[in-house]
């Protein structure tokens, strides 16, 4: 019996010839990531146990992306604490304010995270690693055990395969695929349990660049997938090789690998999607909600913060102004993308349109620490999810769309189909 990609990676990192779903292993990770919001808790927990030395400080990636510009004295205190913690722990890969950007994007962009790798993360959006053909597993508060010992127990997850058939029409984005997939599951037009599964894509994947693959990883995470894997195309491997900071070996599932379910989705006729307030699963064609007046818009997050997401937004915003009733926040995923936006003139397009630029990182997608909504307001964004309260007020109405849909809506002042603006 063959193995799926995640089984192969977990076997290799655990020193085993093979593993199967349900096995408990303790993999040796390539990296251990912890973000700015949880360093304080982990440090205090370990200090209380007398653990001052980390197992593998050279593997640790400490990232400031959740609360970058300190909107409160408490945030500033946390930032100071984190800097002291990095020094005490001997963490050299400390990507502090203005040094890296979103932890689930810049490691792929910069050639740190490469195909076939495995890492532990405190955050569930580590699933983004699947965009480059790697795996990141969420540990939550158990990241302290990983920091102390270098590993933690992992039960090998089952894998669900989703085969995408057809080419997306112009103006349809990879985020639309994720929204539609979630809706198909909710409506029971597709049947699979994603709880603690790896969702592995197959089929017509060459059309998806790295940013689109990150977008493909986003929505399954919100419907309980523990990992997402997009088998690297030739183009992705070339990209990875051009940026790689160390050698890597890509991993693919065996042809006789066993899947928990095999699903197929025809994406050739897909229309741009909008997820209605409450859940990513509430996706409908944009035509069903066109004209809904909005107050707030946001482009960014780990699902839609890469260069290509920014260019999709800029194509709409170029030469246009935001509607007077709308405030638009844009958070590029990384410092590198931010610099490129400036160098290639996109920053000017955004500012001329009236958008407010946020620092690279999570933006309002993290507990609305910046750019929140008020009670009763209506927002459309590329955030990872639109659960009640995601941007602050629980009674605000939060819609989701692709970067192009959000940009077009911000210009129109109401939810709009970007294809009509091109």
């Amino acid at each position: 019996m063959g193995m799926t990609a995640v089984e192969k990676v977990l076997a290799a990192k655990s020193g085993r010839s093979s593993v199967k779903p349900g096995d408990v292993v303790s993999p040796d990770p390539d990296y251990i990531m912890i973000h700015d919001g949880v360093v304080m808790g982990a440090k205090r927990e370990l200090d209380a146990l007398g653990i001052s030395r980390l197992a593998a400080p050279d593997k640790v990636l400490m990232v400031t992306d959740h609360d970058v510009i300190y909107g409160s004295p408490r945030a500033a205190e946390r930032g100071a604490f984190n800097r002291k913690a990095a020094a005490q722990w001997g963490v050299k890969n400390f990507f502090d304010v203005g040094r890296g950007g979103h932890g689930h994007i810049f490691p792929m962009e910069s050639g740190l995270l490469l195909p076939g790798m495995f890492y532990f993360d405190n955050d569930r959006h580590a699933t983004n690693a699947g965009a480059i053909g790697a795996f990141g597993f969420r540990m939550g508060s158990e990241i302290s055990r990983v920091l102390a010992t270098g590993t933690n127990w992992v039960m090998v997850p089952k894998t669900v395969q989703l085969t995408l058939k057809g080419q997306l029409k112009p103006g349809v984005h990879a985020r639309d695929v994720g929204f539609h997939f979630a809706a198909m599951l909710k409506q029971e037009k597709l049947t699979a349990d994603l709880d603690y599964r790896v969702l592995e894509y197959a089929g017509d994947l060459d059309q998806f660049d790295l940013a689109s693959r990150a977008a493909l990883c986003s929505t399954p995470t919100e419907i309980r997938a523990y990992g997402v894997f997009v088998p690297p195309s030739k183009a992705i491997l070339e990209l990875a090789k051009s940026r790689a900071q160390r050698p890597f070996i890509p991993v693919y599932s065996d042809v006789d690998a066993r899947y928990d379910a095999n699903l197929t989705l025809d994406i050739s006729q897909l229309e741009p999607q909008v997820s209605l307030p409450g859940s990513v699963e509430n996706a409908v064609n944009v035509s069903e909600v066109e004209g809904t007046v909005i107050d707030h818009a946001f482009i960014g997050s780990c699902g839609s913060g890469m260069w290509e997401d920014m260019t999709a937004a800029a194509a709409i915003l170029k030469g246009r102004r935001l509607a007077p009733n709308v405030r638009l926040f844009i958070a590029p995923g990384t410092e590198a993308t931010n610099r490129r936006l400036a160098a290639e003139g996109l920053l000017g397009i955004f500012i001329e349109a009236g958008a407010v630029m946020l620092p690279p990182g999570c933006g309002p997608c993290n507990d609305a620490v910046i750019g929140p909504v008020h009670s009763g307001e209506v927002s459309i964004s590329t955030a990872t999810n639109n659960n009640a309260g995601r941007f602050g007020a629980r009674d605000a109405k939060l819609y989701l769309g692709s970067p192009a849909t959000v940009a077009a809506s911000a210009v129109a002042g109401k939810i709009a189909d970007a294809r009509k603006m091109n």
Partner: protein, 178 residues
């Protein structure tokens, strides 16, 4: 380790399907307020569905649930269950809820098919979490279910992740001295 009580004998407290951690197990304000001290949580365990539960339950009692128990990967309620000495037997749990229960040192079994059909609240139960036996003395029958994996037993025996890490550190310190 051999003296750890893997077998619990007590009364059944039966719940249905799709119980959210927030609201169903403990009030949401305990979660958002980041309350992790057992003494703060215990008075509110199952408060919204069964006020006063903590005054009636006894160590050894078993919570038996339907599918999807503990949705939302939170740990607050499991901290209280562990401190009260309760066991947990579920038809299914989201994996991260199962992981959270183990991490808090709760004696737990999941994937116990149709277990809610085999008991009612108040029945006298005996559950062996190490070997996977479920016995209903009131109704006089016994079932076998998947026990906790061997590799995870030590975490529960040590009271959860904090206890496990404490022992790991103690052993490491002792090794460095010797």
């Amino acid at each position: 380790m051999s003296e750890f009580a893997w077998v619990l004998k007590g009364r059944c407290y039966k719940l249905g399907h799709d119980v959210w951690h927030a609201g169903g197990v403990v009030p949401n304000w305990l979660i958002t307020g980041r309350h992790f001290d057992a003494k703060d949580i215990i008075p509110h365990l199952f408060e919204e569905t069964d006020p006063g539960f903590h005054t009636r339950c006894k160590p050894g009692d078993i919570i038996v649930t339907g599918r999807n128990f503990g949705m939302g990967p939170k740990m607050n309620g499991y901290i209280a269950m562990q401190a009260l000495g309760l066991g947990l037997v579920c038809e299914t749990m989201p994996f991260l809820a199962y992981r959270a229960a183990i991490g808090c040192g709760v004696r737990v079994m999941t994937d116990c098919v149709n277990v809610t059909d085999m008991c009612e609240t108040g029945d006298e139960l005996e559950v062996n979490f190490r070997d996977g036996f479920f016995i209903n003395h009131t109704r006089d029958f016994r079932r076998e279910y998947p026990p906790l994996p061997d590799a995870l037993m030590e975490i529960v025996e040590l009271g959860g992740n904090a206890g496990w890490l404490q022992q790991w550190q103690t052993r490491r310190a002792a090794a460095s001295v010797s």
